[in-house]
């Protein structure tokens, strides 16, 4: 039987890392918390093996990423189904709200969004507001240090689409960052 106290110590040690990974990939605090709980329950089931293993952080990171991608793929399947029915190729779903958006024609991010003026906070918020198809490659690229090829394989899309999504996402983030700097300078 797993020692609950030992697991609680394990949980307190890694909860920030798991939650941060989920939050950046999903862009939604409540969903990130749900995923973090799922990941830790999986860890609990295998705590005898991974509890004292030095590879525990890597295991947690991998399981968190996979769980998030599975979560997002459910939305992606719906998006593909509806886009096939409607003939619209460029629709995207914002996993944060579950609402439909047109990722190609409509800017995924308002360059001057209302909200925090601090550049770090503004950038963090802008990252969360990106549509999933741009946010996920950017997070895997910048925070997990995956290559374009690796991201394409993980997401089961072409390398060209990965490059396009990262480029467009970065442009949106750049605009948000510039806007935050501008607002800070005006104050």
């Amino acid at each position: 039987m797993t020692d609950a106290r030992a697991f609680e110590a394990f949980l307190l040690e890694y909860q920030d890392m798991v939650y941060a990974t989920a939050l950046r990939l999903l862009g939604n605090a409540m969903e990130a918390e749900d995923v973090a709980q799922t990941v830790f329950m999986k860890a609990f089931e295998q705590f005898d093996q991974i509890g004292t293993s030095p590879s525990a952080p890597g295991w947690l990171k991998t399981v968190t990423t996979n769980t998030c991608l599975n979560h997002l793929s459910r939305y992606r399947n719906r998006w593909r189904f509806f886009s096939e029915l409607s003939g619209a190729e460029a629709k995207a779903i914002d996993s944060r709200t579950g609402k439909w958006g047109t990722g190609e024609t409509q800017g995924p991010l308002d360059p001057t969004p209302p909200g925090p003026r601090d550049p770090d906070t503004a950038l963090d918020a802008a990252l969360r507001r990106l549509p999933a198809h741009q946010r996920v490659p950017i997070v895997l690229f910048h925070f997990d240090d995956l290559t374009y090829q690796q991201i394409a394989e993980r997401l089961n899309i072409s390398v060209g689409k990965v490059k396009t999504d990262i480029h467009r996402g970065r442009e949106a983030l750049r605009a948000a960052l510039a806007s935050a700097h501008e607002a800070g300078a005006l104050r």
Binding site: A4, Y19, M41, R74, N77, R78, L127, F143, T147
Partner: protein, 151 residues
């Protein structure tokens, strides 16, 4: 660190800003929530296999199983000898009945070939088409309503 084979200027303000973003901290509710789920899991009795039974139960169950097998092996020939006369009498009656059944089946076969056979193939074709259509609609609905199979 720049990913392998990718050239983003590390001095680019956006890249630096992204790298410098502080790691979000887990909400205070997460740990109590997970521990509540863990305690609920621990409170559920784990399924027990035969190997987890107490030694006395394991021995008793093994002896019981062997006894049943031996009993069946010994009793079976006696049961056959006891049932044989009844089986013979039954087969004599069955022979008469079987003759009637055989005639009926032959008549039915002639009727089937002459009347029903021309209708069977179109009927099967309609059933097949309808089955495929239902399966397709069901799969599409499942994909929309349930989000498809998870990887």
């Amino acid at each position: 660190m720049t990913p392998r084979g990718v050239n983003f200027d590390p001095h680019d303000p956006l890249t630096r800003a992204l790298r410098a973003l502080p790691e979000p901290r887990a909400p205070r509710t997460l740990a109590p929530r997970v521990m509540a789920a863990v305690h609920a899991r621990l409170a559920r009795p784990a399924p027990r296999t035969w190997f987890d039974w107490p030694l006395g139960w394991r021995v008793s169950s093994a002896v019981g199983a062997v006894t049943v097998m031996v009993a069946v092996t010994l009793v079976w020939p006696m049961a056959l000898a006891w049932l044989q006369p009844a089986a013979d009498a039954m087969s004599a009656r069955v022979g008469v009945v079987w003759l009637k059944v055989d005639v009926t089946l032959r008549v039915a076969a002639v009727f089937f070939r002459a009347v029903w056979y021309p209708l069977v193939l179109p009927f099967l074709a309609i059933v097949t088409v309808m089955t495929i259509a239902c399966a397709t609609v069901g799969a599409m609905l499942g994909r929309v309503a349930l989000g498809g199979a998870s990887r």
